[in-house]
């Protein structure tokens, strides 16, 4: 019984997230689009929970919903008189994009359903936060360090790009 409710909840979450995803790329007002993106990110955090990735769900909420969304909404408010951001693209461009997305969806869906994904028998054991930390510090330590350098470079680059130039 409880499992049935959980499964239904997951499907409801998926439908909600898909609707919000389309809203975030269709809504003419960018501010509404950004809020819809926040809804998608929260729903995906819920799906992470359903997949047993609790720590990742928390990181998703902290980093994405907390930091990235704040940045995006700040930028929307700094650059746009919101009413004037409504410049829908041409009808032909919209139709072409829709058709190509539909074709992409159908093609990948076909590949996805016809592929026999290799599966560990009975599924993998859920990694604890300790396992994640050990994996991050042992097997993936090089990309981890590179990512640190990248973040540092982006910090300096963003400051340099956004700085007001001396007149």
């Amino acid at each position: 019984m409880l499992e049935l409710i959980a499964v239904k909840g997951i499907y409801i979450l998926m439908v909600f997230a898909a609707a919000a995803a389309f809203a975030s790329s269709l809504l003419p007002n960018l501010f509404h689009g950004a809020l819809a993106l926040a809804a998608v990110l929260l729903a995906v955090a819920g799906l992470y929970l359903s997949l047993g990735a609790e720590f990742l769900a928390m990181v998703q909420i902290l980093v994405y919903v907390g930091a990235v969304m704040t940045l995006v909404i700040y930028a929307v408010m700094l650059t746009g008189r919101l009413e004037e951001t409504v410049t829908p693209s041409g009808r032909i461009q919209r139709a072409a994009a829709g058709v190509s997305c539909a074709i992409f969806f159908v093609l990948v869906c076909g590949v996805l359903l016809s592929t026999n994904w290799p599966a560990a028998p009975g599924g993998n054991p859920l990694p604890s936060v300790k396992d994640l930390g050990i994996d991050l510090m042992k097997r993936h330590v090089f990309p981890f360090e590179v990512l640190g350098i990248l973040l540092f470079a982006v910090l300096i680059g963003a400051l340099a790009a956004a700085r007001r130039e001396k007149s």
Binding site: A18, L41, S50, Y74, L78, R94
Partner: protein, 104 residues
């Protein structure tokens, strides 16, 4: 095992990715393109987590890859928004059609 069949999760993340592509293709505002980009990155990170449950030897590595994607997306958002602000300051517009400084 995942509570819902694996393929349903995969199709869901494909829907997210398609919505992101559609947004990136049709938005005229650079910020809209950035929002669509975040959507696509999130779909990819979700795929990594799905496969971390089922694929052999994927247990911790899949989740670590998702961490990397989240960190990269945050870095991309910060750099992209700084560029958007700089462009807005010099051109008074962030419509992608107006941004043709580097166009021959």
């Amino acid at each position: 095992m995942t509570p819902v069949p694996e393929s349903h999760y995969l199709i869901f993340s494909l829907i997210l990715f398609s919505a992101g592509i559609f947004g990136a293709l049709t938005r005229r505002n650079a910020l809209g393109v950035l929002i669509a980009l975040e959507l696509m990155l999130n779909a990819v990170a979700l795929n990594f987590v799905i496969f971390s449950r089922t694929a052999p030897e994927g247990s911790a590595s899949g989740q670590v890859s998702a961490f990397f994607i989240i960190a990269l997306a945050a870095a991309g958002a910060a750099a992209g928004l700084a560029i958007v602000l700089a462009v807005y300051r010099s051109r008074k517009s962030i419509q992608t059609d107006d941004t043709n400084l580097l166009k021959w």
